[in-house]
C-alpha cells in the first residue's frame, strides 16, 4: 500500500510509463505524461507560494487537466479541495472562505462562469481573465517547470483532501481526509473488487464526489485505465463508448441505473468486456436492481455503501449473496468494523435497529474547523453515519432509514435547510419548508412549500430566477407549492411529516 496518494501514480508511472492511463474523447495520456505534467504543475504551485497543508480549490469537470491538477496539489504538499464544477459564484465564495484556500484552479468552462471570484491566485486556461486585485496564471506557465517530483514535505497523516458535504446546519461541512484514509480505502476496494492492471473504468461520476474519486484512485493504484465521459445526458453514447473502448467496469448511483434501464439501449446492448458493475450512493429500488441484474448478463454487480466521512467505502455485498441477502448493503470492507448502537453507544443485538457506526483507518479526521459537528459525528466507537439499520444473524447490514430530513438527490446529500435559507434570503418569502419528493430517476428531489410575504403581488418566476443564481441544479426545488401557511407542531416547528402527506 502506498503511503501517499500520489505514490500510486508515481509507482504506476514507473511500472507502465507508456501505458495509456486515461482517455477523454480524442485525448489520451500515458502514465508518464500525467506524472510529469503533474510534477510541473506542482512546481508552479510551489512557486506561487503553496505551503504544506495549504488548501487549494479545484473547480473543474472531469478531464485530463483535472486529474493532473489533483495529483499536482498532492505532490506540492497541498490539500485538494475539489468542489462541483457547476458551483455558483456564491458557493465558490463560501468554499474559498471556509477552506481558506488562496489558490484556485479553474477549467475553461468554470472560468467562463466564475469571473469575479475572490481567490488571490487563479490558475486557469490560456484566456483573458479579468481578475482585479488578484493574480491570474495560465496553465501553460507550468510547461517550463521541472519534470521531476518536488520533494514531499508531508507524511501519511497529512491531510490530502477536504470534501464538502451538506450539513444538518445548512452550510456545507468540509470532511478532512488524510493520505492514510484514502490509501487504506483504495487498497481495500482494490482487494474486494479484485481490480487489476487489465481493468478499464468508464467514469461518468464526477471526481469531486468521493465515489467518483475512488475510481480514479483504485485504477491508478493497479495500473488500470480510465475513460472519462461527462456526457451521460446521452447514455447511448456512453454505452457505445464502453463497447468501443472495451471498458471492464461501470460505476453508478441509483439514478444512473434508472436512466440506463428506462431510457437507453443498455438492455439491448451487449458489452462483452464489462465484468464489474458497482452501485452506491443510496438505496436502489429492489425492482430496479432485479432488472439491472438481468441486463448486465455476465458482469458481476457489487452493491456498496459508504460515506464521504469514510473516504467513500464502508461495506459491500458479496455478489454471490445478492439473491439471499436482497436489500442488504452487505458486510464491512477489509479493515473496517461496522456496529449498530443505541444513542448512548451501546452495541445492539442482531435484528435490532439503531445507529450505524463505523471504525477503521478510512474514517475522517473531522469536519474542517467545526468542532461541534465533529463531536456529533465522531464518537470513541467511531463514526456515527446518521443512517439507521440492523444486522442479521450473519452480520449482514440492512438500512432502515436515515437521518431525518437530509435529502439524497442523485446520490448527493442535500440539506433542506440550505435550500430554505436561500429561499428566505430572496426576501420574497415569509416562510419556507423543503422536503424530499420521491423521484424515479434521482431517488429524491427537493420540493418547496412557500408562504409569500405579499401574496397579492407575489410571482414565482423572480424567486425561481433567484434560486437558480444561488444554488446548483440539484439543490433547486423541482416543485413549488405556494401556500397560505405551513403546518406547525406544538413546539412551533414546521411539521414536515404533515407536508409529506
Amino acid at each position: 500500500m502506498a503511503a501517499l496518494v500520489q505514490h500510486y501514480l508515481e509507482e504506476t508511472a514507473q511500472r507502465f510509463p507508456d501505458k495509456i492511463a486515461l482517455c477523454h474523447g480524442a485525448i489520451k495520456a500515458t502514465y508518464q505524461e500525467i506524472d510529469s505534467s503533474a510534477n510541473r504543475l506542482a512546481h508552479l504551485l510551489r512557486e506561487k507560494g503553496l505551503k504544506p497543508g495549504e488548501r487549494v480549490l479545484l473547480v473543474m469537470e472531469n478531464s485530463l487537466d483535472s486529474v493532473r491538477a489533483y495529483y499536482a496539489i498532492l505532490k506540492a504538499g497541498g490539500v485538494s479541495v475539489e468542489v462541483p464544477d457547476r458551483s455558483t459564484r456564491a458557493e465558490v465564495a463560501y468554499f474559498l472562505e471556509n477552506s481558506g484556500a488562496r489558490i484556485c484552479l479553474l477549467s475553461k468552462a468554470s472560468a467562463a462562469r466564475l469571473t469575479g471570484i475572490a481567490a488571490p491566485v487563479i490558475i486557469g486556461p490560456d484566456i483573458a481573465f479579468e481578475h482585479p486585485g488578484g493574480e491570474y496564471v495560465s496553465w501553460k506557465t507550468s510547461e517550463v517547470m521541472p519534470d521531476d517530483a518536488p520533494a514531499a514535505q508531508i507524511d501519511e497523516n497529512s491531510l490530502a483532501a477536504i470534501v464538502y458535504t451538506s450539513g444538518s446546519t445548512g452550510k456545507s461541512k468540509g470532511v478532512m481526509l488524510t493520505h492514510k484514509n484514502l490509501c487504506t480505502n483504495t487498497a481495500a476496494i482494490v482487494t474486494y473488487l479484485g481490480l487489476t492492471e487489465n481493468d478499464r473504468a468508464m467514469a461518468i461520476l464526477p471526481f469531486h464526489y468521493v465515489y467518483g474519486k475512488t475510481l480514479l484512485n483504485t485504477h491508478f493504484a493497479t495500473g488500470g485505465s480510465m475513460v472519462i465521459n461527462n456526457r451521460f445526458a446521452f447514455p447511448n453514447a456512453v454505452i457505445d463508448e464502453m463497447v468501443k473502448k472495451e471498458c471492464t467496469l461501470f460505476a453508478g448511483v441509483p439514478s444512473t441505473f434508472a436512466i440506463l434501464l428506462n431510457r437507453s439501449i443498455f438492455a439491448k446492448t451487449e458489452i462483452p468486456s464489462l465484468r464489474i458493475v458497482t452501485q452506491a450512493g443510496g438505496a436502489m429500488a429492489p425492482a430496479l436492481r432485479g432488472r439491472l441484474l438481468e441486463c448486465i448478463r455476465n458482469a458481476t454487480l457489487y452493491v456498496m455503501y459508504g460515506a464521504t466521512e469514510a473516504s467513500a467505502r464502508l461495506s459491500y455485498l458479496p455478489p454471490e449473496r445478492l439473491k439471499d441477502k436482497l436489500g442488504s448493503i452487505g458486510i464491512p470492507i477489509p479493515g473496517v468494523e461496522i456496529t449498530v448502537r443505541d444513542d448512548s453507544g451501546t452495541v445492539l443485538p442482531p435484528h435490532t435497529s439503531g445507529n450505524i457506526c463505523a471504525a477503521g483507518p478510512n474514517i475522517m479526521q473531522g469536519y474542517w474547523q467545526d468542532r461541534e459537528e465533529t463531536d456529533k459525528a465522531l464518537k470513541p466507537w467511531g463514526l456515527v453515519t446518521g443512517d439507521l439499520g440492523y444486522k442479521d444473524g450473519e452480520g449482514f447490514i440492512f438500512l432502515t432509514g436515515r437521518k431525518k430530513e437530509m435529502l439524497k438527490v442523485g446520490g448527493e446529500r442535500i440539506s433542506p435547510k440550505e435550500i430554505e435559507d436561500a429561499i428566505i434570503a430572496s426576501r420574497l418569502v415569509h416562510e419556507a419548508a423543503v422536503i424530499g419528493r420521491p423521484d424515479e430517476l434521482l431517488s429524491e428531489v427537493p420540493e418547496a412549500f412557500i408562504v409569500p410575504i405579499d401574496a397579492k403581488t407575489f410571482q414565482i418566476e423572480p424567486l425561481i430566477a433567484y434560486i437558480r443564481e444561488e444554488l446548483s441544479p440539484q439543490k433547486q426545488p423541482r416543485r413549488w407549492n405556494i401556500v397560505g401557511s405551513l403546518p406547525k407542531k406544538s413546539s412551533g416547528k414546521i411539521d414536515k411529516e404533515a407536508l409529506k402527506k
Partner: protein, 83 residues
C-alpha cells in the same frame, strides 16, 4: 401557431435557463456543453417533445445527433414528420 423552433426555445428557456433571461440560445450551440441541460434535462425535453408533438421517441433515438442542439432537434422532428 408559433413556429416549432420557438416552442422548443421557449420550453428550454422556461425550464432550464430561467433566471438567466439574458442567455441567448444559439440554435447551433450544444445544450449539454453549455451547461443548459443535464441528463435529467434531456429526459424532460424528450417527454415535452413527445407530448407536444404527439410523437414516440425510441430509446435508440436519444443520441446527440437528434438532441444536442436546437438545430438537431428541429431536423429530428422533421424526420419524425413534424412540420
Amino acid at each position: 401557431m408559433p413556429a416549432t423552433k420557438d416552442v422548443i426555445i421557449n420550453f428550454i428557456k422556461e425550464n432550464f435557463v430561467m433566471g438567466r433571461s439574458d442567455t441567448v440560445i444559439d440554435p447551433s450551440m450544444s445544450l449539454i456543453e453549455s451547461g443548459i441541460m443535464d441528463s435529467t434535462g434531456v429526459l424532460e425535453l424528450v417527454e415535452f417533445l413527445e407530448s407536444t408533438f404527439s410523437i414516440k421517441i425510441e430509446d435508440e433515438e436519444l443520441v446527440p445527433e437528434n438532441l444536442e442542439t436546437i438545430d438537431n432537434i428541429i431536423a429530428f422532428l422533421n424526420k419524425k414528420g413534424v412540420a
